[in-house]
Each structure stands twice: as structure tokens, then as C-alpha cells.
């Protein structure tokens, strides 16, 4: 069968496959010639004219659709895309601790050792900037999702990190009180142009008061400052941070201890750097170089360990490193009860595994709801489809009224009915069927959710079932009976198979709706009867773990889209009926 090309010459070809001229060809040629020569009223060939008109029609149709399409893309598709993006987004670590992340590249978690002094130096700088911008607490809560305790560690460190380098500051000020003056630093490290611009900016900032939001002028470093790379860097950070965060001018504020520390570090490394500066600056720096041996060393690593011993734990550094990339699978792993540790992907501790159970419960409860909807919807749909039109229309109202009634009304009705002091229990007690002491517990558990949601989603099962059953000719069942089938056999072998598409349509619809429900489980579900949606809402509004909420939402979205794809293949989206 696969070798048709080899046998081409020997097997006779079909009538359309002759290569020589046939009467057909001549007809086609004539047709083509006739078309080509036909012209429209304005003299253009008809074909071109038609094509142009078709193009214009297409364009006009698109123009009609375009406003709505743009509207939906902006108000709906963009938010969904944003949510998908948020489920992997993780820029906070690298944005808050850029230097630390870079320094950690060379450190290997597997070694089991605490990172070297370079990492602690970088961390000191990052933390000082972060504390000033108040970003370290946000980073703390982010990393706390991955390693419990990091949040308090970062908060503690944030309080104490500003004291690192204080001894060097004191020593330098003791040597020359000029080091305490903001002008000394600004004069030494920045250009006169910058100082002028910054002074003007500071005046405007004072006048503008609270509402002032103009960014401070861009830092321009003096040429000589290049000789002191760490100092220049730290000073730039200092000036920018206090400028944007508290609208203070670098000309008027004493630099952070970090700047002093950096200067000592720079000068220890390049004692000749002092020569690059002129006048007072040069003299002051030369004096500082002279006095360097008297200035105490600062060990950032020791300082960090003094703040909190946790910093000696490689686990902390490993976690920071593991979550340093701007995109992370971490939230999706959490959603599957896994966690990304420095050692790789691991299962969550036994007592923190909730999401798999929750997903399974959501699916199980949705299935139970779907099944009870089939059970209750099938007889009703059959009755509606087989009654005379007038009676069926009246009964149809009983189905459509709940369908049209507010969801909140139906949910509150079930709350009223199912409570322990509610209507059903009251009636049962009143009738003496249940003792007053042992009233039934029907709310705030799985039962409550299933009963209420079956009621709410039942019309979605009845309507598609009804429209399918309406098309089944009653003569088939009669024919089966006249051929000797019993009622049951006629139903099982003839009627039921024809109604299966309706069951399929209704089931998928009900299942999709059930799996993403939020309001009803929230009100009647208690803690045992809630769905994954309730957890998503919890993470958005209570725990503020938006990334995890987005990851859970993305998983749910994918599940629903797959189901819809199946629905479209089986029934077709266009066939969605809205209440008759």
C-alpha cells in the first residue's frame, strides 16, 4: 500500500489523473478565459472587483468586532494573562538582593559551608538599601513561604544591620570631625554640577512638602571618585535611596556607616587612591591612610552571626540562592504539596500537605454533585419532554425560576433550611422524627455543600437533557415495545442510548461550573466542604500569598479549559442554550 509511486506506471490511472488533454481541460480553459475578460461597470476586471468588495466586507466585519475584541482583551484576557504570569514571577529576591544573588553564584550549597565574606559584604549592602526602602519585610514574607523563620530573621537583621560599620565611623570621626559633615562627602565624591542641582532640588522638596514627588537629580560622580569604587557605589546608593524614600538631600544627611566602611575597605586595598584627590579631600584621605592601622576591622560575617546565629545555617543561603532566578516553579510546586529546597524538589512535611487533598476533594465533590444532578434531572427532563406542550411549559417555569433567581437568594435559602436551628430540623423535631437533642448536622460540611449545589446546578442539567430528549422520536420506543421488548428493555436499549449526549452535555456543564464554585461552599461548606476556589480566595485576601493563589488558579483554569475543549468536541460551544 505504501509503494504507490513504484506501481504508478503499471496501474491504470483514474479519469482525473490523465496527463494528456481531455474535454474537461478545454471546458476549464474556456471558463477561465470568459472570467478574465468579464469586466465590471467601471472597467476593472470583474474578478478583481469582486475580490476588492469581498476584502472591504471582511474589513467592515472586523471593524465591527474590533471594539469588543479590544475591550475583552483589555478587561478580561489581560487579567488572566497577568495571573498566569504572576504564578511564576519571582523578581522580588533578585530586585531586593541584587549583589547577594550575584555573589552567591560562586557559592555551592552542596559544600555545606557558610558562604564567604564577599557574600556577607554584599548582603550588608543589599540589606541597608532594602531597610531604607522598607523592602526587607516583603522579601521576608516571600521567603517565609519556602523556609519558615526567614521572615523574623530578616526583620531582626533589618533592625540591627545599620549598626554594622559604626565602629569605623566613630574612629574616623574621632580622627577628623569633618568626616561627620555631609558636605565633606558630597564635595569629595560628586561633581559641582550635581551639587548645584541637588541643592536646588532640596529647596523645591522643602517647599513642596508631602506632595512633592519629583525624583532627585541623577548622581554624577567626580572623576577622582573612580579611584574608590566601593565607596562611590555605596554613596550613590545612599544618595538615591534617601532621595527617593524620604526626600532628603545627600548634601544635608550624614552618610550610612556602610559608606565609611566602604571607604576604609577601598583605602586598605588601594592606599594610593588618596593621591587622586586634591586639596582638603586629598589631605584628609592621606591622613586617613596614615591612620588606617588604628581603625578597627569590621567583619560583616561576624556581625551577621552576632545579629542572629541563623545566618550560619547554609539552609538560609541555599533558599535565597534557590529562589534567586526571576521566574520560579516554586508556587506550582507548593500547589502540588512539593517544595523547592536547596537540595532539589522535596515533598512537603506530612502536616502541611493540603492541596492534593483539596484538589481531590474538589473533584470528588464535583463528581458527586454531577451525579446527583443526573439522578434528579433525568426523570424531570423526561417528563418535560414527553408531556403535552402546555403542561410542559408550566412545569418548565418551575425549572427556570430557580435558574433565574439570584445565587445568593438560593444559598441563603439553603442556609435557612439546613441549619441546626433551621426549618428542616425544626420540622423534623416538630413531627417527632428527630429528638431535640440530636438535630441533624447538615450544614458546614460536605453534605451541605452537595445538597445546596445540586439544587443550584440542577437547571443546568435539566435544560440540555430536555433539549436532547425533545429530539428523540417516541415512535422508537413504541416500535421496540411492539417487537416484544419490556418497558425496561425498551428504555435501556432504545431510549437511554439516545439520551446519552444530553447526559454528557449536562454533566460536563455541571462539572465545570461546580469545580470553580466559590460563594456557596464558602457559606454552607464550613471547613470540610470547601473547594479549591475558597483556598484561592483565602490566599488573595487573607494570607496575601498571591503567587500561590495564581498558581492554584492556573491549575484550575487549565483543568476547566481541557473540559471545555472536550465539551466543544462533543457538543459544540455554539449549542450552549440559555434557559430555553
Amino acid at each position: 500500500m505504501t509503494d504507490t509511486r513504484q506501481t504508478e506506471g503499471t496501474v491504470p490511472l483514474g479519469p482525473d489523473q490523465f496527463t494528456g488533454p481531455t474535454p474537461d481541460n478545454a471546458l476549464r480553459d474556456a471558463d477561465r478565459d470568459a472570467k478574465a475578460s468579464m469586466v465590471a461597470a467601471d472597467g476593472t476586471p470583474l474578478k478583481a472587483s469582486l475580490a476588492r468588495s469581498l476584502r472591504r466586507q471582511k474589513l467592515r466585519a472586523l471593524m465591527l468586532v474590533a471594539p469588543l475584541l479590544i475591550f475583552v482583551l483589555v478587561t478580561f484576557i489581560a487579567p488572566i494573562a497577568d495571573m498566569l504570569f504572576r504564578s511564576v514571577q519571582n523578581e522580588i529576591v533578585v530586585d531586593t538582593l541584587p549583589r547577594t544573588v550575584a555573589a552567591l553564584q560562586d557559592w555551592d550549597y552542596e559544600s555545606g559551608e557558610v558562604p564567604g565574606p564577599a557574600v556577607f559584604d554584599a548582603m550588608t549592602r543589599d540589606m541597608m538599601v532594602a531597610v531604607e526602602r522598607k523592602e526587607h519585610t516583603r522579601l521576608g514574607s516571600r521567603l517565609n513561604y519556602e523556609l519558615t523563620g526567614i521572615s523574623s530573621l530578616l526583620r531582626q537583621t533589618g533592625r540591627d544591620v545599620e549598626d554594622i560599620g559604626e565602629v569605623q565611623l566613630d574612629a574616623m570621626v574621632g580622627l577628623d570631625p569633618a568626616w561627620e559633615e555631609p558636605a565633606t562627602w558630597a564635595g569629595m565624591l560628586t561633581t559641582p554640577d550635581y551639587r548645584e542641582a541637588a541643592a536646588e532640588w532640596a529647596i523645591r522638596a522643602d517647599e513642596g512638602g508631602r506632595l512633592f514627588d519629583e525624583p532627585p537629580p541623577r548622581m554624577e560622580l567626580a572623576e577622582a571618585a573612580q579611584a574608590l569604587p566601593l565607596t562611590a557605589d555605596a554613596y550613590t546608593d545612599f544618595a538615591r535611596t534617601i532621595g527617593t524614600e524620604s526626600q532628603d538631600s545627600a548634601l544635608e544627611e550624614e552618610p550610612w556607616p556602610l559608606v565609611y566602611m566602604s571607604l576604609v575597605q577601598d583605602l586598605r586595598q588601594f592606599p594610593a587612591a588618596a593621591d587622586a584627590f586634591e586639596g582638603d579631600d586629598g589631605a584628609r584621605l592621606a591622613a586617613l591612610v596614615e591612620a588606617l592601622p588604628t581603625i578597627p576591622e569590621v567583619d560583616t560575617r561576624a556581625a551577621f552571626l552576632e545579629i542572629d546565629e541563623e545566618w550560619a545555617d547554609p539552609q538560609v543561603w541555599g533558599t535565597i540562592k534557590a529562589f534567586s532566578p526571576p521566574y520560579t516553579p516554586g508556587y506550582f510546586l507548593s500547589a502540588a504539596d512539593l517544595t523547592l529546597t536547596p537540595d532539589g524538589v522535596e515533598a512537603m512535611p506530612e502536616d502541611e500537605r493540603i492541596y492534593r487533598t483539596l484538589f481531590l476533594r474538589t473533584i470528588f465533590m464535583s463528581l458527586a454533585i454531577t451525579f446527583s444532578c443526573i439522578l434528579l434531572g433525568y426523570p424531570v427532563a423526561w417528563l418535560l419532554a414527553n408531556l403535552p406542550a402546555r403542561q410542559a411549559n408550566v412545569l418548565m417555569i418551575l425549572v427556570l425560576l430557580p435558574f433565574w433567581t439570584s445565587l445568593l437568594v438560593r444559598t441563603s435559602a439553603w442556609k435557612v433550611l439546613l441549619q441546626q436551628q433551621g426549618v428542616i430540623n425544626d420540622i423534623l423535631v416538630w413531627l417527632g422524627l428527630v429528638g431535640d437533642a440530636n438535630r441533624l448536622v447538615m450544614i458546614n460540611n460536605v453534605t451541605g455543600t452537595i445538597i445546596a449545589m445540586t439544587h443550584i446546578l440542577l437547571p443546568f442539567m435539566i435544560l440540555p437533557l430536555y433539549s436532547v430528549m425533545k429530539t428523540i422520536p417516541p415512535s422508537y420506543v413504541r416500535a421496540a415495545k411492539s417487537l416484544g421488548a419490556t418497558d425496561f428493555t425498551a428504555f435501556r436499549r432504545v431510549y437511554f442510548p439516545q439520551s446519552v449526549p444530553g447526559i454528557g452535555a449536562g454533566s460536563i456543564l455541571v462539572f465545570i461550573l461546580a469545580i470553580g464554585y466559590y460563594i456557596t461552599p464558602e457559606i454552607v461548606g464550613g471547613t470540610k466542604g470547601v473547594f479549591i476556589s475558597n483556598r484561592i480566595a483565602y490566599h488573595i485576601s487573607t494570607s496575601l500569598n498571591w503567587g500561590l493563589a495564581a498558581a492554584l488558579g492556573s491549575i484550575l483554569l487549565v483543568a476547566v479549559l481541557i473540559l471545555y475543549w472536550a465539551y466543544d468536541r462533543i457538543i459544540g460551544i455554539d449549542n450552549v442554550k440559555l434557559g430555553g
Binding site: 467592515r60 465591527l64 475584541l69 475591550f71 487579567p79 426523570p379 417528563l383 417527632g432 465545570i512 483554569l557
Partner: protein, 396 residues
């Protein structure tokens, strides 16, 4: 015996079968009524005797006058109820009497065989009636929760259940205080106005954009029809909690979170699929030669749209608009996240009330909403009939 039909059995056994069944039903009602008075056994006996008596009367003395017999049953049972249970008991008794009387005549006149061929076996008759009973039960399940809310909203106490005064039909047990609360409480009024401010604007947006797009989509030459349709329908497909989460994240990025327009835009997006679906469905039956005829007679496209096309597709547009309106008016998940405290809508206020169980004012609101949905349902049904009449189909 095996080849006898149930009808023949009933004929042969005379009214005995009917008397037995009615007595059984009477015993059941008697047990219930007796239990409420603390004397189940006596109630059962009295009920059985009453049932048997009704059936005997229906088969004998009053077999000709159905209405008379049933009124007599109602009167008798109501009297019994009045003697033992006051006004509430009288009403309960009347209901039981009506049902028992109906059962008696239904059994005696073999109405239970109605709709079945005369050759149906006893099993088939039993199954047929059991099936109808099951269906009746399911309809009850569908409607009862909504029906229960309405009387409870007139409760004089702040309870979510029937008080003894209500059951005794004591006028003291009923009041309009929850309605009064709804119309005077600042929170509820604020919520109602918010809902009324948001829903119409969202509907207008959805209907305006949606109708235009539906007209574009119904033209035969539109490219990427499937993809466009999927995008426009997607707000209906995506679970609300996901839409809400996405909108919350995105709208807070662009500063729309917690604003009036944020909610309006979100609700318009949610209502659009309904407009698209109903309007495209209406356009399927639209005769395109009408627009061509209009153009031929010299009308420009705008005139053609408003004078020819719009009046014909108006029922579809209105019902799409109603769907969009009810979507926005009913919506709570998205508004919970996108809105701020100042934009509390009616469903939001109800949601808070349900979660924290503040007051049965919720039930008064629910009753008002049920009334609104009945009105909406009626409007839609009338529109549907009109549209079918316009298209030359018979209503029904």
C-alpha cells in the same frame, strides 16, 4: 389471576382497594398530625378511619359530586384541626382534608390509570404513579427552598426559622419589620444604590459593544471567526474565582482596583458572552435581503441598521441585555475582589450578612430579588414568543 389487568382487579374488588389506600394515606397524615400534638398512635387511628370514610363516601353517597365531597372533607378536617390545634391546626387540617379528599376521588375513580393504555399491568400503573410522585418530589426540591424564604421574610422575630406564632397563623407573628429595615438601613440602601449604579452602565457597555460585534460575527466572510468567538465567550467559561483573581491583580496594577469604573468594566466583560450568544442566535434567522433592499432604496448603512435591522433583532438584544443585567446585578465574587468597601453591592451585602449572620433582612431582600426574577422571566418569555412570531414560527 395473572392475566387480569389492574382495572379488572379494581372492578372486582369494588371500592375496597381504594378505601384501603386512602386509609393508609389518612393514617400517615394522622400520624404526622398526631405527633405534633403528642399523640401519634391515636392520630394514626383517627386518620385511617377518616381516610377509609372519605373513600367510602366518595364511592357511595357522594360519587356524583366530586366538588361537594372534597369540600366536605376539607370542612371536617379543618373542624377537627380547630378543635385540637387552634387556627394553625384548622389551616393544617384543611390542607390535609383537601389532599385526602383528592386522594379518595383519585382512587375511587381510578384516575391513577389516566394517561396509560387500558391494557397496562398493575406493575406498570404502580411504576407510572411512582415516577410521577418522584418527579413531583424533584420539582418540590427545586421550588421549596425559594418558596420557604418568602413567608420567613415576614417573620416578626429576628430568627431564621418559623416561630410558634407564625405556625399558629397569629398576626402577631408576622410583620414587615425586615422590609422596613431594608428601606431605612443606610448600609442596605447604599448597597442597593451601588447595584443600581453599576448594573445599568455595565449592561449598556456590554449590549453596545456586543451587538456591534455580533453583527460583525454573523457576516459570512469574517476571518478567524472561531478564535474571536472563543475569546469573546471566554468570560463565561472561566470560573468566576479565576476571573476575580486575575482582575484583582491586573486592576490593582493599573489603578482600577477599588474604583467604580473597575467594577463596571469587569461586569461588562462578564455580561458580554450572553449578549453575543443571544444576538448571534437572533441574527441566524435574520433575512439579509432586507438590508440589501433597504440599501437599494437609497438608505445608508446607519439608517438601514436603525430602521430595518435593529427593530427585527431587538428581542434578541433586549434578552441579551437582561442576561447581562442579571449577571451584573447578581455578581458577587468579582465585586468582592475588585471593589472596595464604598462599592458594596446588594449581593455583597447579602454575602456579608450570610457569613456573619446579622439579620433576617437578607430574607426580605431575597424576596424582593425573587420578585424581580419572576418579572425578568416573564419578560424574557414574552420576548421569546414575540421573536418566534416575527420569524414565522408558532409560539410554544
Amino acid at each position: 389471576m395473572a392475566d387480569l389487568t389492574a382495572a379488572e382487579i379494581a372492578d372486582r374488588s369494588g371500592p375496597g382497594f381504594a378505601i384501603g389506600i386512602t386509609a393508609l394515606a389518612g393514617a400517615l397524615f394522622g400520624y404526622i398530625a398526631g405527633n405534633t400534638l403528642g399523640a401519634g398512635l391515636i392520630g394514626t387511628l383517627v386518620g385511617a378511619v377518616l381516610g377509609a370514610g372519605f373513600a367510602w363516601v366518595a364511592a357511595g353517597p357522594l360519587s356524583g359530586s366530586r366538588a361537594g365531597g372534597r369540600w366536605a372533607a376539607i370542612a371536617l378536617c379543618a373542624l377537627l384541626g380547630l378543635v385540637f390545634g387552634g387556627i394553625g391546626g384548622a389551616v393544617g387540617g384543611a390542607v390535609i382534608g383537601a389532599v385526602l379528599g383528592w386522594i379518595a376521588y383519585w382512587m375511587v375513580r381510578t384516575d391513577y390509570r389516566k394517561g396509560l393504555p387500558p391494557y397496562a399491568t398493575a406493575g406498570q400503573v404502580l411504576w407510572h404513579n411512582a415516577f410521577l410522585f418522584i418527579c413531583g418530589f424533584i420539582f418540590f426540591f427545586l421550588i421549596a427552598p425559594i418558596a420557604v424564604v418568602i413567608p420567613l421574610s415576614f417573620n416578626a422575630e429576628s430568627f431564621f426559622t418559623f416561630t410558634p406564632e407564625m405556625l399558629a397563623l397569629d398576626p402577631e407573628g408576622y410583620s414587615l419589620r425586615h422590609y422596613r429595615d431594608f428601606f431605612t438601613n443606610a448600609d442596605w440602601q447604599q448597597a442597593m444604590w451601588n447595584s443600581l449604579k453599576i448594573a445599568p452602565v455595565a449592561t449598556l457597555l456590554a449590549v453596545g459593544f456586543g451587538t456591534l460585534a455580533a453583527i460583525g460575527l454573523s457576516q459570512s466572510h469574517i476571518p478567524f471567526r472561531q478564535v474571536i468567538m472563543a475569546i469573546l465567550i471566554s468570560p463565561m467559561i472561566v470560573p468566576l474565582i479565576i476571573s476575580a483573581a486575575g482582575m484583582y491583580f491586573f486592576y490593582s496594577r493599573i489603578g482600577l482596583q477599588g474604583t467604580y469604573w473597575g467594577i463596571v468594566l469587569a461586569h461588562a466583560a462578564l455580561g458580554i458572552p450572553f449578549v453575543i450568544i443571544t444576538v448571534t442566535a437572533t441574527l441566524v434567522g435574520f433575512d439579509r435581503s432586507l438590508t440589501r433592499a433597504s440599501a437599494n432604496l437609497g438608505a445608508d448603512p446607519v439608517t438601514t441598521f436603525f430602521k430595518v435591522q435593529m427593530p427585527l433583532i431587538l428581542p434578541g438584544v433586549i434578552s441579551g441585555g437582561l442576561f447581562a443585567f442579571i449577571t451584573s446585578f447578581d455578581e458577587v465574587v468579582v465585586v468582592l475582589f475588585v471593589g472596595s468597601a464604598g462599592q458594596k453591592t446588594l449581593p455583597w451585602q447579602m454575602f456579608i450578612g450570610l457569613r456573619e449572620q446579622i439579620s433576617p433582612t437578607i430574607l426580605a431582600v431575597a424576596t424582593i430579588l425573587v420578585t424581580i426574577s419572576i418579572l425578568l422571566l416573564t419578560t424574557l418569555e414574552l420576548l421569546r414568543r414575540r421573536s418566534e412570531r416575527l420569524r414565522g414560527m408558532s409560539p410554544g
